[in-house]
Symmetry: C2
Subunit: 212 residues, 2 copies
Amino acid sequence: MSQTRHTGPALAAPSDADNRGVIAADGTPMARIERAALVLFAASGIDAVTTRAIATRAGVAEGSIYRHFPSKEALARALFDAIHGRLYELVEDAITGAGNDFEAAVAQVVAVYCEAADRDRTLFEYHLTHMFRFGRIGSPGRPDPTALIVKRINQAMTEGDCPRGDAELKAAAALGVVLQPAAHRMAGRFSFGLSQQTDSLARASLAALRAA
Amino acid sequence: MSQTRHTGPALAAPSDADNRGVIAADGTPMARIERAALVLFAASGIDAVTTRAIATRAGVAEGSIYRHFPSKEALARALFDAIHGRLYELVEDAITGAGNDFEAAVAQVVAVYCEAADRDRTLFEYHLTHMFRFGRIGSPGRPDPTALIVKRINQAMTEGDCPRGDAELKAAAALGVVLQPAAHRMAGRFSFGLSQQTDSLARASLAALRAA
DNA sequence: AGCGAATGAGTGAACGCTCACTAATTCGCT
DNA sequence: AGCGAATTAGTGAGCGTTCACTCATTCGCT
């Protein structure tokens, strides 16, 4: 085939201790393209960022972008899928790790989001601001952290750990308790690390779940 | 002056009984431009929508857009300010109307958001998806519903209606309980009216405020 | 006839993307 | 180990297209 091979985003392995986030931090052109695109996309939105600007910031030629990604849109999607997929794994681990303890599960999931928001703020903000573009439901097989949470809430309802109700609505409300503060921080409403508020937000999230 | 006069968005008066939302529903070219732009902006994002597409949908010539708005960006901002300003008024009324009853104030504010989300879904979704573009803090004098909520929470804390804590964080968490379900509905996760869930969400929002 | 509102072809700038080419690396064979 | 062939990564000028916006003209109302 004459088609260029696209190897996908240089995802950091979970074991990559020295890594600041989901995107590989080595100095390869691909990693630099990803990081440059991420920063610009998060700041101005995908459509407002030119491939020229990405290339300049990454210190590569414009054409090099297309050695690794078939299009600007595909680059944007790869970045989104990277953080989305990583959150899926983290939420999965958090829920599994808490066993049958529902309160612990909620606390762990909240902690996952707080830590992700702090660890790589740019990446998380990109995720927040582009959920509407990429996060629509309907792609089966695509990892979906929310689906995991909904499932756990359903389990909690049958086991009596949580009052009955619409699990999707409860999940949304509980998630909102964490994501909206992240959005507010992004808007400049406060500046402390979300991780400092993990306990408080975990309590609030659980309270919302039980009240909704 | 040789400058075209721009009269601003045709906001519906609150007394306009037959009006479906914030944007005037009469058949003037300006109203049709606003509605067309709103629908397209909400569906695809501002940058992805062309002035040609707006004009076509509104049934006017492309040049007519510029008789009413100095630029596409200004049109987009006017639409955002319209819904943002309207929410400010509604939240103000809700809080004032509840007097010293904090629980009632929370319930009323939640009801305001739920009703706004249902009354003109397109407008509310445009608001949700473009908060990141227009909603950054730092423009004093600009109406800001969240600031109202923060103020009311501070009052509740001094009056003992709400445990002490960071009011900005509490406000964000409480708002998240409502806005995230709106976002999830937008993403296709469920389809019922948010107004049906006002009571449930009001309870959850209050619980989050008290637990955070 | 007069005049503001509306028009839509036209404009220059800027966009995403291509492609012919070079440089560097890996491969296969002896 | 040595060496030419093959493959891949990187380049940047340039392409065709599309965009937001303009303005000379037309429309429609009094």
